[in-house]
Amino acid sequence: MDLLNDTFFVDTPTTSPLPEEDYRQNGKLKNVRGRILKKLLKYEFKYYLKPMLIALAALFAVATILCVLGCFLTAEDIGGTGEALRVLFWAFSLLLFVFGSLFVMLFPFILAHKRYKKQFFTAEGYLTLSIPASAQEHILAKRIAAYVMASVASVLVSIALLLSLIPIFLLAANGALGTMQPIQVDLNVGDVIYSLLQSLIWPLLFLALEGGYLCWEHRGLKKWMVALLVAGIYILSMFANIFFGSLFFELSPEVLDLIYEIGKWVLLAVEMGALYLLFLYETKTLQKKINLK
């Protein structure tokens, strides 16, 4: 018996229409596709909500304690031999708080990386990658949620820091820290937009590490290569800015300003382009190379 060549074919007729046709005819599939990113985002934000709320609540609680403690310890009517020690204790607590704040700022990235690994590299990946969403939608949802959470955390951490520094502001207001000059900043709309766009880069660079990790895991590229490439472009762009700026230092200030203006926007475009290329490569890797164990 040669079973290698012993092949049967079935002649059972198709009994029901193709479901895709049903979906397409009723417009259901299109609606489902349109809502997928929204749904993915919903679950991404849900994942961050609890741990971030706990971290931020703890941060604000400590900030409030430090604020009250600071106001008490730096009050004029508190004196005695232990005053310097108490103020030192408060200043040290403040320093620890600053480090804690930095951790809370980085916390969304830690959570993002944890989720990324869990959803794409563990058994959970079988479910994640079975839902009718494209690789682009998966990655985009994760990037957007991580980015929004990182931005929100940054703003709230800044507010918490300001809260903890209220005693210092009060001291300054009472003239205890000498006369302070107001800082004058001359900004135009272009500078503001540029600064905002430039501030987009660093969290994306951090998130790009995930892309590098995915590519390495699935033999797309060597470990961290993609992330290093993007980081390299970013760092080189800064050096290039300084270097080319110095080449033209003999030119008139107006021309230098113009070169600087053009240069910074070109470099920003290069950075953004590099990140976009990484996004494309990452989604392609997820789509083509992934093989869950």
Binding site: F8, V10, T12, T14, T15, S16, Y43
Partner: protein
């Protein structure tokens, strides 16, 4: 004639290892249980992963419901991996929400009824459930979809004989009408009676493909006996 699953020249290599070699298959729509049979390492999981869109073939083409494998086919294929994949951080209710949100064919009422019958509380955290309960939950979620194609990768391999019976009964009694089940296993004797169609895979190649009854008649023996004969040199 449209086929539910069609593979043409499907090949998958991992480095120098050929997991699938020129697989040609045509499985009709319209009901039935298709047994994807073969020993460990024969390419069953690789074929399933390709059909579910979790893996890309090196060469050839696979289609489900006439569509290339992708987002559209994922909407009509209900897949249960041998890992019983679940969102571990969720409660059972949140798991149902997740399925309701992403799968339009998910029948929540059916899932809730099955969960109630098994006494699985919807407020329980998935990670606190026992291994057996997790397996049952994953099975319920997979079967509560009114899918065109159900794919089960070794659903009875790691469970005790009593649980096997439960798993098989659940699969057979809860699948949606006109659906097709593709079930991979190497424990054939347990399930042979339910097969409508069988596919034998050996070293990444299809060595037999046909209606179960026709195979039995032509070879004059059970599928299990035939399987043992075909694969006796492998063990």
């Amino acid at each position: 004639m449209e086929h539910l699953i069609s593979c043409k020249g499907l090949t998958k290599t991992y480095g120098k290892t050929q997991a699938l070699q020129d697989v040609n298959l045509e499985i009709p729509a319209g009901g039935g249980i298709v047994g994807l049979l073969g020993p460990n390492g024969s390419g069953k999981t690789t074929l399933i992963k390709i059909l579910t869109g979790l893996l890309q073939p090196t060469a050839g083409q696979a289609r489900v419901c006439g569509c290339e494998i992708g987002v559209e086919t994922k909407a009509v294929v209900s897949y249960l991996s041998d890992f019983y994949s679940l969102n571990e951080g969720y409660t059972v209710r949140e798991e149902l929400d997740y399925y309701s949100d992403f799968f339009t064919d998910f029948d929540r009422l059916k899932a809730e009824t099955m969960l109630r019958d098994l006494g699985i509380a919807s407020t329980s955290k998935v990670k606190t459930l026992s291994k057996g309960t997790k397996e049952k939950l994953a099975l319920i979620l997979t079967l509560s979809r009114n899918a065109r194609l159900y794919i089960f990768d070794e659903p009875i391999a790691g469970v005790d004989p009593a649980a096997r019976e439960y798993v098989l009964e659940t699969i057979l009694s809860n699948r949606s009408e006109n659906s097709t089940i593709l079930l991979s296993t190497h424990l054939i004797s347990e399930i042979e009676q339910y097969f409508d169609h069988v596919i034998f895979l050996r070293q990444g190649r299809v060595v037999l493909d046909g209606p179960a009854q026709k195979v039995r008649e032509e070879h004059g023996k059970s599928i299990d006996a035939l399987f043992r004969e075909v694969f006796k040199w492998i063990y």
